[in-house]
Symmetry: C2
Subunit: 186 residues, 2 copies
DNA sequence: AACCAACATGTCAACTATGACATGTTGAGG
DNA sequence: CCTCAACATGTCATAGTTGACATGTTGGTT
């Protein structure tokens, strides 16, 4: 599983508490890459600590513990990130599954779903473009690297949007419009 | 969870045996949308049958059973596919996670991973383009609807490829070359 | 006639993830 | 000083997933 690697990755950028990590998973990371709730994060941090890949560097106010990666953890992370094409990477995406199964709907239903998808992609796109405005041009400093991820999301949305529009066109062409009766076919 | 819906969706297109369904998950469906092995598929088919969403329509040679969706199953599938924006769709993608965590690597390592990603996307792209050649122009008949999914994959690869190239450029610009290599730029 | 790859299904233990429930702390604002 | 939202962590039962193991059939080739 990849949760430990996700945690190592986040901690490698900057030490954090379990709580902060949990917040991280509520954002883009959890939305596009990997989901996790605090009920899996806290125990996993414990396991990583036992394995010596992370360590508690600070204890704060509300019983909070700040974790940081150890050299061994950094090595483990690097190994995972640079690993070979990785056979069987885990994939599980409900939205994409819907897209794959769209063919099981009759054209009118499929069209309405596609329109919804197109709208959502457009909205996500606008959202990320706004973010880009704020953060300005991409200047990946030692810290502000999330830009790579943001750009990825942006291009992803563009692709989905374009695809949905294309698919709508295809369907409209082949499933003749219901409009004011024009059965047309034989 | 979505496995039952994936099965309903596949069976809605055409009745199949558990074995055939398993094969389906080894292709693009499993690679991009939803993974599942036969050890989860067979039991799930049993549960769906009990719930009256699918039924065995034929028993073949090697103890094979062909399943088909019932009207109730079709209704369930339709409900799921046309369902609201679905707030908490499950997402879990190891490759995308890698991309999100790339920032944790130092530039040389990140670059080599990005190059690998770009190459793989290019390969996938070529693969799908070849498929498109064979199947000819998109003519979604009652059966050949997988084209929507193929086009989706194609655009997905394009997006990943473009992103990787962009990211490489960004990194090369900001992380000044170390070696005796001519920096060239500026 | 023997062999084998592909067909076809299954069990089960171990592991992972999720949602419901639980508990206590701190700081800011009224 | 009281209250409450956000901070911060945890348990536990249930449910879902995976990999290892297991078994038998059929059709084509040698």
């Amino acid at each position: 599983m990849s949760l430990p690697h996700a945690l190592l990755g986040l901690l490698a950028v900057r030490p954090r508490s379990g709580y902060e990590l949990t917040k991280e998973f509520e954002g883009y990371l959890g939305r596009y890459a990997w989901q996790a709730g605090h009920t899996s994060i806290y125990p996993e941090l414990g396991k990583l600590a036992v394995r010596g890949l992370v360590e508690v560097t600070h204890e704060g106010p509300r019983g909070s513990r700040t974790y940081a990666v150890t050299p061994a953890g950094r090595e483990e992370l690097r190994a995972w990130l640079t690993a070979p094409p990785s056979r069987s990477g885990k994939v599980r995406n409900e939205e994409v599954l819907r897209m794959f199964l769209l063919s099981a709907l009759d054209p009118p239903d499929a069209l309405s779903v596609l329109r919804r998808i197109a709208d959502e992609a457009a909205a996500g796109l606008a959202d990320l473009r706004a973010v880009r405005e704020v953060t300005g041009p991409p200047v990946p400093g030692p810290e502000g690297f999330g830009i790579l991820a943001a750009e990825f999301g942006l291009r992803q949305y563009e692709a989905v949007h374009g695809w949905a529009l294309w698919a709508i066109e295809q369907l409209e062409q082949h499933a003749e419009p219901a409009g004011s009766e024009a059965p047309a076919e034989s």
